[in-house]
Amino acid sequence: MTIRFFVPRDAAARAVGADKVAATLRDEAKRQGIEIEIVRTGSRGLFWLETMVEIETPGGRIAFGPVTPRDAHGLLAGGLPLSASHPLYLGRPEDIPFLKRQTRLTFARCGIVDPLSLADWRRYGGGRGLERARSLGPSKTLEEVTKSGLRGRGGAGFPTGIKWKTVADTSADRKYIVCNADEGDSGTFADRMMLEGDPFALIEGMAIAGLAVGATKGYVYIRSEYPDAVRTFERAVLLAEAEDLLGAEAGFDIEVRVGAGAYVCGEETSLLESLEGKRGQVRAKPPLPAHKGLFGRPTVINNLISLATVPWILAEGAEAYAAFGMGRSRGTMPIQLAGNIRHGGLFETAFGVTLGELVDEIGGGTQSGRPVRAVQVGGPLGAYFPRALFDTAFDYEAFTARDGLIGHGGIVVFDDTVDMARQARFAMEFCAIESCGKCTPCRIGSTRGVETMDKIIRGERSAANLKLIEDLCQTMKFGSLCALGGFTPYPVMSAIKHFPEDFVRPPLSVAAE
């Protein structure tokens, strides 16, 4: 009787020893003469429990964690089956509260399946979306996506159906589907998890997009900072080709392209420039990529999560997806809890949950045990929110109303040791490092912003320099072509607004000459 073990291959699990855990389990089982099979899965997204090892039992899978390589030795020492009294026993993964309260639509298979097994993918519903899209045909498929209310999950929140329809209605000799997997926002890892945990979901989503708009070629632009994801996804593409899920038979091809360390290439037009082999300079819009995108052709460029959600929408129906959510934010959002947080991970849920519930109840507060002081939502270009704004619902419009943004859904928690003036300085510094250089307010403004923040931190003429920062932010907000320069004011001004005490510093004494 072969006993199946599941050990994640997700980078976050490998980063804390998952490979050694798997190797130790294999060696120990061999030593004891126990027949085991180790399946390397994606992560369930409960990162404080990685490496989370699951064992298949007649009653379903049971989990243990966090398992260190040292623990792995002792895990089999007492022989199998492992009992509930084992110190690392977690029970059924589905019963772990963090996972139990989620609504996993996009992430339904992630952490469960072998990401490189098409059989697993099919067993868990893979392919049904594409099948339905093929039977519906292009225009009814477009209707489904529009009716679902799906909005771009990269951050802009633009209605996906409208974007696709625009491409479908534009004639050209060829069209493209581009997946933006340049997930550069700190506090985000949903794209990475999908690439490593359920790559076929993205492939299916892109194939559906191709069918809907008349594109036969897709590109997936993955950031170079995700080497594991690149490797796993490239293998998934080869496997898909071998089974005619991609290729001539399928009428759709996918090519993987790797970024080269530029955050700005997460901006859609900069990404297209990069794909074209150029500097990642931002383009003016119009023309929209939907009209003139990659190589001047009509292009659907979507975030990975948007595309990977499409199969579910087609398989289960637009109404089913739209039934979740609130206001104009329909469906679910894979929220990423990160930073100084006790229970960090992937929390997919319907729009509407509050920030406080996410940080305090679900996230369990800080990992350090100190009070939460600030939370940055939406990545480096997102606002810092204080506890006073914890009643804000996770919803596109609710966050905008409070001068924030949900972005790609990342939440970074900071405890009370955070220096918000230094955070504001970093926002400017990051903009300066990553600016494509096109717009003067972004290119030069960010550099001057760093210098001015340094003066404020040194206590030099704080009031005057704060006014200067405010003025600079206005210029950057209205004078930048894209969100890099345009939204840097969000973290800066929110830090000043909500944490003014950090910006009033005593002047540093100057050494006597």
Partner: protein, 155 residues
């Protein structure tokens, strides 16, 4: 990896990507994988091979943070400096690593053992602070990790 410019090898790399649209970045990635950096002769070579100007090639190489103008050390340690890692004292950790190797950001030890660079987000944000050592992920870094890193790069 040969650290000396080799036109035959570069030609093979360019040929490998024939037929690809917008192939400059894939070519540059492969060149850097082969040589450890983008050697100066590559600029003129690529301009010729792709029928674009040397200025354009130089513009692309200099734009992206990944592309090196000189070889790195035998090991490359990329420490994450982004917000989630900052929230878990990533900056202080990085300082200690740099001090351990007596380096500034981007520097290489005099014996060529290791280069320490900044990176902005590895997607390991719930397991901060994090790093990539020779392309392999490391997370939940602490004081013990510095010893582990020092051991790894001394191999």
């Amino acid at each position: 990896m040969s650290l000396r410019w080799n036109e035959a090898e570069a030609t093979a790399i360019v040929r490998r990507h024939e037929g690809r649209e917008g192939r400059l970045l894939p070519i540059l990635h492969d060149l850097q994988a082969a040589f450890g950096y983008v050697p100066e002769p590559a600029i003129a070579f690529l301009a010729q091979a792709l029928n674009i100007t040397r200025a354009e090639v130089h513009g692309v190489v200099s734009f992206y943070h990944d592309f090196r103008h000189e070889p790195a050390g035998r090991h490359v340690l990329k420490l994450c400096r982004a917000e989630a890692c900052q929230s878990m004292d990533g900056e202080a950790f990085a300082r200690r690593v740099l001090d351990r190797f007596d380096l500034d950001w981007g520097g290489t030890t005099s014996d060529g053992r290791v280069t320490v660079e900044a990176i902005y987000c590895l997607g390991l944000c719930a397991s901060a602070p994090s790093a990539l050592l020779d392309g392999e992920p490391m997370a939940r870094l602490n004081a013990d990790s510095i010893d582990e890193i020092a051991r790894e790069v001394s191999r």
